[in-house]
Structures are given as C-alpha cells and as structure tokens.
C-alpha cells in the first residue's frame, strides 16, 4: 500500500566555490587591507561556520575609495555609451558563466536555499546587467533630453537579504549612466560583492570605477556623509533610511531610499484559490520572509477565510526546511542571530497580544539560525505584528468584508512598497490596484521581478525608483 516518498539529500557541491581564508577591501582596482588593519568574520548562518575573514572599512578607507572613484569618473564618464555597454555586457556574461559558483557562495553566506539563488537571484542579477548595458548607448532616448549627464560618484549601501541582486540593482544603472561607484555590502554578507570585484577585474573594468568596502554601519555612515559623494542610494531599514536622509539634507547629494514594507496580499472570494495559496506562500516565505516587499499581511475575504486557511496550512506542511545547499530545500536559515532575535521577539509579541500562532511540524537544525514558517490568525490592525515589519517567515492573517475595507486596511500602514490582489475579475483587480498606495502591485502573482520594471516605495517605504527606464533617472543630472 501507499508508502512515504522521502527525498534523499541532494546537496549542491560546495566545491563549486573556492572561498579564500581572507579578503581585502577592493579600492582602485586592488584588494587591500583596511587602513587600521581591522577585520571581521563572516559566518554561514545555516551552520555558524566561519567562512572567511574580511577587511573592515573605516573612515580613512571610505575617503580613499571615494578619491579613487572620483579619479576614475573623468575617464569613465567620457567613454561613449557603446564602450560602457561593452563592459556591462561582459560583466553580465561572466556572471552567467560563474553563476553556479556565485549561487553556492550566496547560499553559504546568506543562508537562503540554493533553489532560490540558482533560479531567482543569479538569473535576475545577470538580467539586470544585460538590461542596463542596453541603455548605456541609448540615454538620449530615455526621456531626459539629449545627452543627459551622470552625477559623479555614487555611494551605495546595500542590505543582506539579496546581497548580489541589490548590488546589481545599484551598480548596473550607475555604470550605464557613466557614474563611478563606492559600494558597501552588509556586514553579514560581504562575500558575493567581493567576488563581484573579481569579476570587474576579469572584465577589465578600469580601476576605480567600482570600489567595494565591506564593513559595518559606521562605514556606511561615513560613505553617505562624504563630501565628495554626489549620489546616495540606500536599501535597508526605514530607521537607517531616515538617518541617511537627515545626513544628506542640505547638501547637493541626490538620494534614493528603498526601505521597509508591510505588504498586503488581498485575496477575494473569487480568487484562483490554489494559485493564491502559492502566491501567499511565495509572498511571505520566499527568502525566509526577509524581503522588503514581502506579502507579510494576508487580507482574506471573510467568506473564504476558513477554506483558504485550511489550504494554506496544508501547503505549509509540505515546505522543506533545512540545509540551504540541498536542492530540495524550500526554507533556509535566517541571516543572523540578531535578525533571528528580532523575529522571535515580534512573534512572541504577537502571541502575547492574543493572536493565534500556528506552525507546521518541522524540526529545526541544532546549529545555525532558524525560524519555523509561522502564521498568525485572529490578527487585527491593532496588533504589532500587523503594523511592524518583521522581516521573517511570519504571516499575519486579517479579514475584510468588502473591496473598500480591503483597500482601507491595505493602505493603513506607514509603509507602501508592495501589494497583491487575487481575483478572477479583471475590473475589480484594476479598480483596487488604482487605489492601493504601494509602489508595486502584483495581481494573481507575487514577488515577480524584472529589470525592465521600476521598483520602489510610497510613504515610509522610501522614494526613487530602481529598475526600468525610471531607474536611470536617479543616476542622471536631470
């Protein structure tokens, strides 16, 4: 009779990537130590194993990197667009060629499943470089008038949730438009940015055009405050984003911020239910929910609440949590102990405030940072877990009765980054989408990304757009 179909371990080979015991800062085309000789360790969140020791940038290094970028700007911005495009196309192709290596690296350093780095992160990274390579010689036709000029040196600070993809979102449009870059990756995920530095060398990119400074918040603060930085781009928490806005206020620096979110996934009673369940799952459990545009609030029409919740719970029991390098893993590790503590505290708060907590049975590995997929029912707008960004695999389920109520609840948040609408009725979908104050509205899908599509927030989710033609504007003097 029926037996159990257990999947044997199917780990991607770790030997696909060769991680050196130590890495330097990448400044002016060379890997160097930090001026004060400081280093920090980066660990694999799934095992807490130390992966490498990385030079830690300080203020002096920031200054050195910005000077290198300034020096390189003259030559780089003078290149014809066709020439800049060649470098970007070359970088895109090298990323594709090295995608397996980079996917394994990213999975090790970030903790996300190899299925995601292999099938989402890396293809999107390459696509982003290809896309902006295509713009480099067509800027005259981007809608900003003839011969739009670059800004100069871009100081970019990126988060740990999509280390290489966020790098691509920042660096590709900056280079295509003729700017030079100093980029600071997050302290928990510096490695893929350093591998990218190597790719820049492999592509023969002129020295100083791209500089990578691994480090902590102090390095990021020094970078955005540096007087010779013309453009600041930041993706990360709303709290830090506000700090940056204060720092650059009163300067000539151009600023784009991509901050937090509390996205609502709205499921109407005529939704394609099985696909809605998939969308809700990918909306909140993709990358362990550590996604700024996650659909962390499920707004379900009350009349189908029980049916949808049954289906959702059944689906969650099939999620496979464990070794991120296993090709069959759906849910990987939380990126850091600090983030795990934050998720844990917020989930506990949800319980304390009276929401009903549920997780599928799943065994968490004994080492590393793990959090079981969790959903909360009986949540109202007044609950902390319905208001605060958790940035973890925790879904808050709320109900609504009418489209008006759905829109009101979806918009009732200081954030406005993403939303989802699930309905088979096109007119309702369009009407609701028009009234949602969110930068991205997906319909009958969620977490779909494309380099041609602009991305960004309303309200406290930030301003400026990345991706698409709109993404060029942030790097042009227009």
């Amino acid at each position: 009779m029926a037996s159990v179909f257990e999947y044997a371990p199917a780990p991607e080979s770790r030997s696909a990537v060769d991680i050196a015991p130590a890495y330097g800062l990448f400044v002016d085309g060379e890997f160097t130590d930090a001026a004060d000789g400081k280093v920090f360790k980066t660990v694999a969140p799934a095992t807490e194993e130390v992966l490498s020791e990385v030079a830690q940038a300080g203020e002096a290094d920031v200054d050195r990197a910005v000077r290198a970028a300034r020096k390189a700007f003259t030559g780089w911005s003078a290149l014809p667009g066709t020439e800049r495009a060649k470098y970007l196309f070359r970088i895109a192709r090298i990323i594709q060629e090295r995608s397996r290596e980079l996917a394994v690296l990213e999975t090790l350093d970030n903790g996300k499943p190899i299925r995601e780095t292999r099938d989402s992160d890396l293809p999107l990274v390459a696509a982003h470089f290809f896309y902006y390579a295509g713009w480099a010689d067509k800027l005259d036709h981007a809608g900003f008038g003839a011969n739009p000029r670059p800004l100069g040196v871009a100081g970019q600070v990126i988060p740990w949730n999509f280390p290489l993809l966020m790098l691509a979102w920042k660096i590709a449009p900056a280079l295509a438009t003729g700017n030079t870059v100093v980029l600071k990756p997050a302290e928990t995920t510096p490695l893929s940015a350093l591998f990218f530095a190597d790719i820049c060398r492999q592509a023969g990119l002129p020295r100083g055009v791209v500089n990578i400074l691994p480090g902590y918040g102090d390095a990021g603060a020094a970078l955005v405050a540096h007087p010779d930085v013309d453009k600041v781009a930041f993706t990360g928490s709303t709290a830090v984003g506000k700090e940056i806005a204060r720092t650059v206020a009163g300067t000539a620096k151009k600023l784009t911020l991509e901050l937090g979110g509390k996205g609502a996934n709205i499921v109407f009673d005529d939704a394609p239910l099985d696909q809605a369940v998939e969308g809700v799952v990918s909306g909140i459990f993709f990358n362990q929910g550590q996604v700024c545009c996650a659909g962390s609030r499920l707004l379900v029409q009350e009349s189908i609440h029980d049916e949808l919740l049954d289906a959702l719970k059944r689906r969650l029991t099939t999620l496979r949590l464990g070794d991120p390098l296993d090709k069959n893993t759906d849910i990987g590790a939380i990126n850091s102990a600090e983030q795990l503590a934050r998720i844990t505290a917020l989930a506990d708060r949800g319980e304390a405030e009276g929401a009903e907590r549920w997780s599928p049975e799943c065994e968490l590995p004994s080492s590393g940072y793990w959090f079981a997929p969790t959903l909360f029912t009986n949540v109202t707008q007044a609950h902390t877990i319905a208001r605060d960004e958790i940035f973890g695999p925790v879904l808050s389920v709320l109900t609504f009765r009418t489209p008006d109520e759905a829109v009101a609840k979806a918009n009732n948040t200081p954030y406005g980054l993403s939303a989802g609408i699930w309905t088979e009725k096109g007119s309702r979908m369009l009407a609701v989408a028009n009234r949602l104050r969110a930068g991205v509205v997906w319909s009958n899908t969620f977490n779909k990304f494309d380099p041609a599509s602009p991305f960004g927030g309303y309200k406290e989710s930030g301003f400026g757009r990345e991706g698409g033609r709109h993404g060029l504007e942030a790097y042009l003097d227009v």
Partner: protein, 330 residues
C-alpha cells in the same frame, strides 16, 4: 467502485468532510452548471509556475530507486493501434508481468491497456498474475458514436473480463455546455461496468483546452462516479502535462476532502522518460499526498516509458548504462 476512505491522521484535511448534498448538484442541467462554474478559477500562469517549480525537485539515490520501481508498478502498458494482433497483445502481457527478464525483482506493471476486442487475449496472457487488463471503450478515441453503441462497447469488454474501462467523455457535449449529458453518459457507463470493472474517465484535456474546463471536467466525472480521472487518449497533439496533471491531483484531493471518496489519476500520453515520470510522482507526493502513491490510485498511460524506466533501473543497480538492446522491445 469509488472506495470510501476514512480520513485519517495522514489527511491534512481530516475533519473537513462536509455533508453537503453533492447529489443535488446533478439534479438538473442548471444546478450542475452552477456548481461547475462556481468552482474556483485556475490561473494558468500560476499553475504552470507551480508545476515547473515542483519539476526542479532533485530525486537521487534511494529516493530515485524507490520512485523508479513505483513508476514501473504504475504503468498501464498500452497498445492501441489498428495493427494490434493477438501476438502483439500476448507479448505485451508477458512484458507487463516480467518487465525485465534479467532481474526478477523488477515489479510488474499495473495493467495492460488494449482495445475491447483484445481483452480476452490480454486476460489469458496475464492470467495468474496481478497485472490487470484495462480496455478503452466508448468509441475510443473520438467518442463520436451513439450512446447505445458506446454502452455495447463497454459491455463487450466487461463480458470478456476486463478489470478496468477507460472511457472517453463526449467533448463535443462538454464544449457545447451540455454538462448533464456528459454526466449521464458517465453514469450509464459506470453502470455498465457493474461491480467488476473500475472506471477511468478520459477528458482529452488537449481538446478541452482551458484549465478551467479541466477542473470542471474533473469534478463532473467524480460526481458521476469515476474511479479514475485520466488526462488524454494519447491520440491528440497535447496529452499529459505536469500542469494538467497537477490540476487534476488538486481536484481529487479536494473531492476527497469534501466527500471522503478517493479517486485515482492517470496522466497518459507524452510521458517517455524516467525523469518525467519521477517529476509526476513528485507532483503526486506534494499535491494529493502519499495516499495516492500506489498503483491503485495513480497510473501512467504509456508505452515507451517502461523501457526507459528499466534502463534507469539497471543503471542504478549496476552503475552503468546498458542500452536499448538490453531491454525488450515488446
């Protein structure tokens, strides 16, 4: 006959068995239409994305060995040609019972599937084994014959001892919106099957064309008493696909949750490699669940698939590939 299962602890939907009088649904043309059109819609992009995502599961080592043996045991080894002869059918029966003569541990296939006039020959060929005989009927593959002819077709096959009937629905009636006609025809065929033959209902999904139609056809057939729902005849351009099979697995899962009645699924046509077969088993495992991982509830309608499964099985056992000359051509 649909087997009633008591929803046990393994069923995540246990306790959801409703007493909804689904029988009223088929009381009239309009009630049936209302019910079928009230089923949740299917988003094609989302369905195909889910099927593709499950297709990336990596099945290795012990899991692969298990899946290959399970797949072999689920094959309805099929010959449906104008040129079928008793000799061909006997050879097929021998192959079904002993797929790999060099390794007796190889499981037998679930059934041989033939035209009605070959049922007697097939029964004799597999006599004494657990291999079932399935017969297509109801003017397969087009189904364009009067009901009386279709029923006679079924009765002949049943009289000749077939264990299973694979009927085709009237796609014309379905596409014209005459769901009750399709339903009543299935009910009549089910009656003609009596208690001795299980009924598989073929939709010809390639002709129904939309996923919404496939979901409706699935519920329609299950309401009419199908023991199995089956994608296709293998005689049109688009046959079994991961997406349409996933959709039908969702339907049998939901039907059991609502009625307590378990119905089988049979993708047919176009599944030729072990890799494909394993992907379908992953769909079963992660959609309908382990209760369907048995040849009583899931089948592959295929002919060339078996040899590829055997080659992969030999490869797993010996560590090297043999070749087409090391599996039998019957």
């Amino acid at each position: 006959m649909p087997t009633s299962v008591s929803p046990g602890a393994h069923s995540p939907t246990a306790g959801r068995v409703s007493n909804a009088p689904l029988t009223d649904v088929t009381a009239s043309h309009s009630s049936l239409r209302r019910f079928l059109h009230g089923l949740p819609g299917v988003d094609a992009v989302g369905l195909e994305a889910r099927a593709a995502s499950l297709g990336t599961r990596s099945i290795k080592a012990d899991a692969k060995a298990y899946a290959i043996d399970l797949a072999i045991s689920m094959v309805d080894l099929t010959t449906l040609e104008g040129a079928d002869t008793p000799g061909k059918v006997r050879a097929l029966g021998a192959k079904a019972m002993r797929p790999d003569p060099t390794d007796r541990a190889t499981p037998a296939t679930a059934a041989v599937c033939v035209y009605p006039d070959m049922v007697a020959v097939a029964k004799e060929a597999v006599a004494g084994s657990d291999v079932k005989v399935a017969s297509v009927a109801t003017a397969f593959p087009a189904g364009r014959a009067p009901l009386a002819v279709k029923l006679a077709d079924v009765r002949e096959a049943v009289a000749a001892g077939t264990d299973e009937i694979d009927m085709v629905i009237d796609r014309g009636a379905f596409l014209a919106g005459d769901y009750l006609k399709v339903h009543d025809e299935i009910t009549a065929v089910k009656e003609a099957c009596g208690t001795s033959a299980r009924l598989k209902v073929i939709f010809e999904t390639g002709e129904l064309s939309t996923y919404d139609n496939i979901r409706r056809a699935s519920w329609l057939a299950m309401l009419a008493g199908a023991d199995f729902i089956k994608t296709s005849t293998g005689k049109v351009a688009v046959n079994a696909t991961p997406s349409n099979t996933l959709l039908m697995l969702e339907a049998v899962r939901d039907f059991r949750a609502q009625t307590g009645v378990q119905v089988g699924v049979k993708p047919a046509g176009g599944i030729r490699t072990s890799k494909d077969a394993v992907k379908f088993l992953v769909l079963v495992n992660e959609t309908a669940g382990a209760d369907w991982l048995d040849n009583h509830w899931f089948r592959f309608g295929a002919s060339s698939l078996l040899n590829d499964l055997l080659l992969q099985r030999q490869k797993l056992a010996t560590g090297r590939y043999s070749g087409p000359d090391y599996v039998t051509v019957d």
